[in-house]
Amino acid sequence: MGAMIETEIAEHRVSEPMIPELFRIERLKRETEDTFTLELVPVEETTKISFLPGQFNMLYVFGVGEVAISISSGPAETSRLEHTTRRVGVVTKAMGMLKPGDTIGVRGPYGTHWPVTEENGRDFVVVAGGIGLAPLRPVLYHLMAQRERYRNIVLLYGARSPEEILYKRELERWRGKFDLEVQVTVDRGASGWRGNVGVVTPLIARAPFNPSNTVALVCGPEIMMRFAAMELQKRGVPAERTYLSMERNMKCAVGHCGHCQFGPTFVCKDGPVFRLDRIAPIFGKGEI
């Protein structure tokens, strides 16, 4: 289960891995009722932003704590970082109350990334559930920036309800492109919603891609990923070309605190992006 870390790790990050770098909040954008996106710029001009799609940072709110959040900006964007998160716990709630200009601590980037470098000529199926779209956004930017390298690209996105659809304007823009298939569904409709209603997994059966040439990227609640993996397999996408993004409790993100263990893997360094065949023995097993 080798790590796929290709980013250069700055020397000071290696020698003092628990000390955050300082970033400033440029903007705090409300996405839905309980989800927001932070736009961050480094306090020091010398701080470089460099990451691969699928990686995450540990974000620190002064005096409150740290939380692992996937990077959701495009990897080509080197002047700022974006993180989309839900307000679910003490740290994210405190984070949601910060103002533009406030300082926030950033450690990272950590973890493995979505496979894009060796996959020329492939069809890509991206299956996102809920906030799972956030860690997939960087790879979607990449796929579209290098569009000529790939064949069919399909995005299947399931949200809880129409009000909870993330990145609405961007999705509408993507849907308008001729070379990208975007299908959105909601678990529960609302008056005025004339789109798909139902979970995202049945969309896999009829999406326009060639299973024998497809790479599938899946991110969302674990149970959704389980069913999505089943549907992909039913359609003939092999586990060796299916990638998931896992989540576990994290305290250090550098493989020392032990919290993120998932069987023999550390989600912070062997993940969060895992190839399905490599975790098949433990994925979906209760309480592992």
């Binding site: 559930g129 004339r194 139902g198 997994t201 059966a205 959704m224």
Partner: protein
């Protein structure tokens, strides 16, 4: 005209590997149909004497909920089967169906098929075993919807 429907059915996974003679008979019970958008295909409680194979468009499967009106619980899209209430008594629709977009479909005479299935159990098995798959997939999807997996856990 009716003969030209066979390739449409044959090409679809639902009818895959169905023996020729059964496929022929079923095709014989099928007709093309087209609906404009926001058209009610059937109401909850109506007699269920047909089922549909959606060729294009989007259909809302809905329940009339007091004080909320017609509430979509699921949508059925291109390549999917709409309706299995014809399979079991009292043969009345458990839900309503209304198009959300202009929709083209094949409509199958379920009353005729029900009679034929009684006479020819082989045909009955071919058809009903495929419907079991459709129902089980819908049940899986419905259960996932019930779990409200994107909901907050606090």
């Amino acid at each position: 005209m009716i003969q030209s429907l066979e390739p449409v059915l044959k090409g679809h996974p639902f009818f895959a590997e169905m023996p020729e003679k059964h496929l022929e008979f079923i095709t014989g019970c099928a007709k093309n149909v087209a609906f404009p958008e926001l058209h009610t295909i059937f109401h909850e409680g109506d007699p269920a004497n047909e089922f549909y194979f959606i060729r294009e468009g989007l259909v809302s499967v809905e329940l009339l909920v007091p004080n909320r009106g017609a509430t979509t619980v699921q949508t059925v899209a291109e390549g999917e089967i709409l309706g299995w209430s014809w399979v079991s008594p009292p043969y009345r629709w458990h839900f309503g169906a209304r198009t959300l977009q202009r929709t083209r479909a094949l409509v199958f005479d379920a009353k005729c098929l029900r009679t034929k299935c009684e006479e020819d159990h082989d045909l009955g098995y071919e058809l009903l075993s495929r419907f079991v798959n459709v129902i089980s997939a819908r049940l899986d999807a419905t259960r996932l919807q019930l779990l409200d997996i994107y909901g907050r856990n606090d």
